[in-house]
């Protein structure tokens, strides 16, 4: 009945004494960051880390926490299988554990037998070793992973596994990391944010080089941090006279930056992903745009003078090689909002009205079909603008953007100068029919639900949604689900169709992959309608009416 003794995973390995400057320090940082709910505490921990960690580790941490994941050399299935072999547990039992824990890296760390050859190395050592596995055979990879597991303690194993599976979801935003670095290195956050953006490889660059380069000598591809708007909660009347503001349609595409420097063109997404190759439509800009130009805007599928629904853009996302058919059916254009760099100079501090005027001239001169100006929406009063906004859906837009004409281009999400004034989402009352357990913080709680509308006396599932409830409501719903389950299919439970929720969403399109015939954009739970009986929920016909009104082609996608 005893746990099987560990297989002979020990290899020749020097026994090193534990030091402060090891992956242990990083493991402690991760633990603190994931436990703490207080921004200041996290900030201090990060800043402290950046002040004391080995330089090579810092660069990696910077990369990891800003989404620059190292290339995967080992996959999740391999990790799982090797853990099963090392522990001698049956696969079904491993799966049960994973369902409860909700995180593969953590499940493995908890299941492995205690290490027998403790060794301590810095973080960068492990990352470099992992990188070197790229061309290794399966057997070599397995030998390395088993040896590493046998050298690390539980908390180190967890971060080690996370380095492989990727995605440290521990509540550290890019902004927080930038602030921590700014504190440690005494560099203004906005400057720092720009310094660490763009294309760099943590294995090649030192942190000192990264933080000491001047803007001019920098990597030519480097984008500026995006300025992001908050949602306007009230009416715009509180913003002062309308004359001080510029209004534009709020587009539902991919926010991006087009950069032309040193004879090269770079297209970045807001997620700081270089996507130049995905959109050959922009290739002609390499020749036409002057060097030292950076434009902020939105990538949209666009034909005959108007945007196409977001669903068409989805056929272009996530594809490296674009077919001719796709280029014909879903051509893209860049709707330019703003000019950030002009003639090699950073002009973000100039007022919008000046930047906009240079931008307008630039776009005019270019005469490129894929480079357009996001038009201004003019109105004499806020009331008139409010009326225009009602027509947003017909423009395939989500509402309006309001930008202060005198404002500089800021960094990150800031209140005051930019506001998004979205139209109200669509809403549908629906009943919950399936529930599934969540992941991470919500593992072991039923948080992912599938909803249905009525079609005659049938219930037709039409969407999944999982955000929008408070922790207290989640606990209550979770408890209800556990008591009112009808059937269990693996992790999914069928529940009595009793609980009614209002589902909000931004868009609707026809879909032949879904039973209901529709696919929703950004569905989420708006509120729990405890006041509403199932007999009063919306119907499939209601959804189809919305579909027709949205102007989305019914037979496409």
């Amino acid at each position: 009945m005893r746990r099987k003794s560990p297989p002979p995973m020990a290899m020749k390995k020097p026994l090193l004494t534990r030091k402060h400057n090891t992956v242990q320090q990083f493991a402690q940082l991760v633990q603190l960051l994931s436990n703490s709910t207080k921004t200041n505490e996290k900030l201090d921990a990060l800043s402290q880390y950046f002040a004391t960690a080995p330089d090579k580790d810092k660069t990696w941490v910077l990369a990891l926490f800003s989404g620059r994941r190292p290339k995967r050399t080992v996959n999740s299935t391999q990790l799982k299988n090797w853990c099963i072999q090392a522990t001698g547990l049956p696969e079904w039992l491993f799966n049960e554990c994973y369902l409860t824990v909700g995180d593969l890296a953590e499940t493995i760390a908890l299941l492995l037998p205690p290490h027998t050859h403790p060794a301590s190395f810095p973080l960068y050592h492990w990352l470099q070793q992992l990188q070197q596995l790229e061309k290794a055979t399966e057997a070599e990879k397995q030998a390395f992973i088993l040896q590493a597991w046998d050298a690390l303690d539980d908390s180190e194993r967890f971060v080690f596994n996370k380095l492989i599976t990727g995605g440290f979801r521990i509540g550290v935003s890019q902004k927080m990391m930038v602030n921590a670095l700014a504190k440690t290195y005494d560099i203004p956050a906005a400057t720092l944010s720009h310094m660490i953006s763009g294309n760099w490889d943590p294995a090649q660059v030192t942190i000192e080089a990264l933080l000491h380069q001047s803007t001019s000598g920098a990597d030519a591809s480097r984008p500026y941090p995006f300025y992001l708007a908050y949602a306007l909660e009230d009416t715009p009347a509180g913003l002062g006279p309308i004359e001080a503001w510029q209004a534009e349609w709020k587009w539902d595409g991919i926010r991006g930056q087009i950069i032309k420097r040193e004879g090269q063109l770079f297209v970045w997404s807001r997620g700081e992903e270089l996507i130049t190759d995905k959109f050959p439509e922009f290739t002609p800009l390499t020749g036409s745009l002057p060097d030292g130009t950076v434009i902020d805007g939105e990538i949209l599928t666009y034909a005959n003078g108007s945007p196409l629904p977001f669903q068409t853009l989805q056929t272009r996302i996530g594809r490296k090689n674009v077919t001719r058919k796709q280029l014909q059916e879903a051509p893209v254009a860049f709707l330019s909002y703003d000019l950030l760099e002009w003639e090699g100079a950073d002009i973000r501090e100039k007022p919008l009205i000046e930047r906009r005027s240079i931008l307008t001239q630039l776009i005019d001169l270019q005469q490129q079909p894929a480079l357009l100006l996001s038009p201004e929406v003019n109105a004499a009063s806020w009331d008139e603008l409010a009326l225009i906004r009602e027509g947003a859906r017909a423009q395939i837009s989500e509402g309006l953007m309001l930008k202060k004409k005198s404002a500089p281009y800021q960094v990150g999400r800031k209140r005051g100068d930019w506001w998004k004034w979205k139209i109200d989402p669509y809403t549908i009352d629906a009943v919950m029919i399936y529930a599934q357990k969540g992941h991470g913080r919500r593992s072991n709680l039923y948080t992912d639900y599938t909803f249905a509308v009525k079609d005659g006396d049938q219930l037709v599932p039409f969407t999944k949604a999982y955000s929008g409830l408070t922790d207290k409501e989640i606990a209550e719903v979770d408890n209800w689900i556990k008591r009112h389950s009808l059937e269990k299919f693996g992790p999914v439970r069928t529940v009595e169709p009793k609980l009614v929720f209002e589902i909000a969403f931004e868009g609707i399109a026809a879909s032949n992959r879904h039973k209901s015939g529709v696919a929703l954009r950004f569905p989420r739970i708006n509120r729990w309608r405890q006041d509403k009986p199932v007999s009063e929920i919306n119907t499939l016909d209601d959804l189809k009416t919305l579909l027709r009104q949205s102007g989305s082609p019914e037979d496409k996608v």
């Binding site: 436990n35 709910t37 409860t100 908890l110 919500r442 008591r483």
Partner: protein, 335 residues
């Protein structure tokens, strides 16, 4: 007919006409320990280990009709031989051994294998059929040795003191709280407790247990006194107005569930310590093996997983549903 049966009132011995930890009122209840899901109100008569009596009276009222027996002492009920054996879960906790016509059954109640310093340590009892708890019947639940765990708790307290914060620890008031007090008493200078915990502590001190005196948190204690102090509170006090008075404080949760990060983050704790009075996965397997039982019933916890695993290892095992709750419905399994 089976010697022990699972009925809607609890585990029933027909031959001896008694129930073990029944959840509906019965004539004669044999109680494994004083936690509320095992020791319920309303039975005609109770039987428990001697040490459990004051705790049961504290919980259920001084007027319950209760008989005490010592560990290992045999008593006979309608010709059925019954004895209680240490379960190591908390003070007075027992496994129930039932013997009739040469057949032996043991119902474990809740148990842990590691000696906690306060309760009489677990002793395996040989039997033909073993009814075991399985609260932590998943291999991810593997406790670190308590000395190691308590030194982590102590370090956490020292760190809080350096940061000028109080250390608030939530732990179940009956069992876990005393275990903490016993192990922390020589390491920190000032320990205070919520009323629910000081009540139990005073009772146990009067019984002669080696516990420190515990200062009760009252409204007239000046706020300055909480700085650098350790305060032990029941889990229900979490995020209450009562707790906010200790600000600035750091909140540590002591529970086996803290083994998994997701659980810890849901509790919004600053620190989680997987301190449990239940057996971990290895403990459960070890206990089952030590009984030599050929038939095992797994109750509350990951019972289906645990039973399936035992089945694959060649032990005839089955899950049973009891009112002791399962992993899904039980909110505070430490009760």
């Amino acid at each position: 007919m089976e010697l022990l049966q699972f009925t809607d009132k609890g585990i029933w011995c027909a031959a001896g006409d008694f129930y073990i930890d029944p959840w509906k009122p019965v004539q004669r209840a044999v109680i494994t320990h004083a936690h509320s899901d095992h020791a319920r109100w309303g039975h005609q008569s109770y039987l428990s280990e001697h040490a459990g009596i004051p705790l049961l009276k504290l919980r259920l009222g001084a007027d319950i009709h209760i008989q005490g027996v010592a560990y290992g002492e045999n008593i006979f009920l309608n010709g059925v031989k019954l004895s209680l054996h240490p379960a190591g879960h908390m003070i007075g906790s027992a496994q129930v051994r039932v013997e009739y016509n040469g057949e032996v059954w043991v119902a474990s109640g809740d148990y842990k294998l590691e000696a906690d310093g306060i309760s009489v340590p677990f002793e395996p009892v040989r039997c033909h059929t073993f009814i075991t708890e399985s609260t932590f019947g998943l291999p991810v639940y593997r406790w670190e040795p308590q000395q190691q765990l308590f030194s982590r708790i102590t370090n956490w307290i020292y760190e809080n003191q350096q940061a000028g914060k109080a250390s608030v620890i939530t732990a179940y008031s009956l069992g876990k709280a005393q275990r903490l007090l016993y192990h922390l008493q020589d390491k920190v200078s000032r320990i205070m407790g919520h009323g629910a915990i000081t009540n139990v502590n005073e009772l146990l001190l009067s019984q002669g247990y080696p516990l420190p005196t515990l200062e009760r948190v009252t409204p007239d204690i000046p706020k300055a006194a909480f700085k650098n102090a350790v305060i032990i509170a029941p889990p229900s006090a979490d995020d209450s107005a009562w707790m906010r008075r200790f600000t600035p404080y750091s909140l540590g949760v002591c529970s086996g569930w803290m083994q998994v990060r997701g659980h810890m983050r849901r509790r919004n704790a600053d620190a989680g310590f997987a301190l449990s009075d239940h057996a971990d996965w290895n403990g459960l397997l070890q206990a089952v093996t030590a009984t030599g039982a050929s038939k095992v019933y797994a109750t509350h916890g990951f019972s289906s997983v645990f039973a399936r695993y035992l089945g694959e290892k060649g032990i005839d095992a089955q899950e049973v549903t009891t009112a002791y709750g399962d992993e899904e419905t039980i909110i505070n399994p430490e009760t």
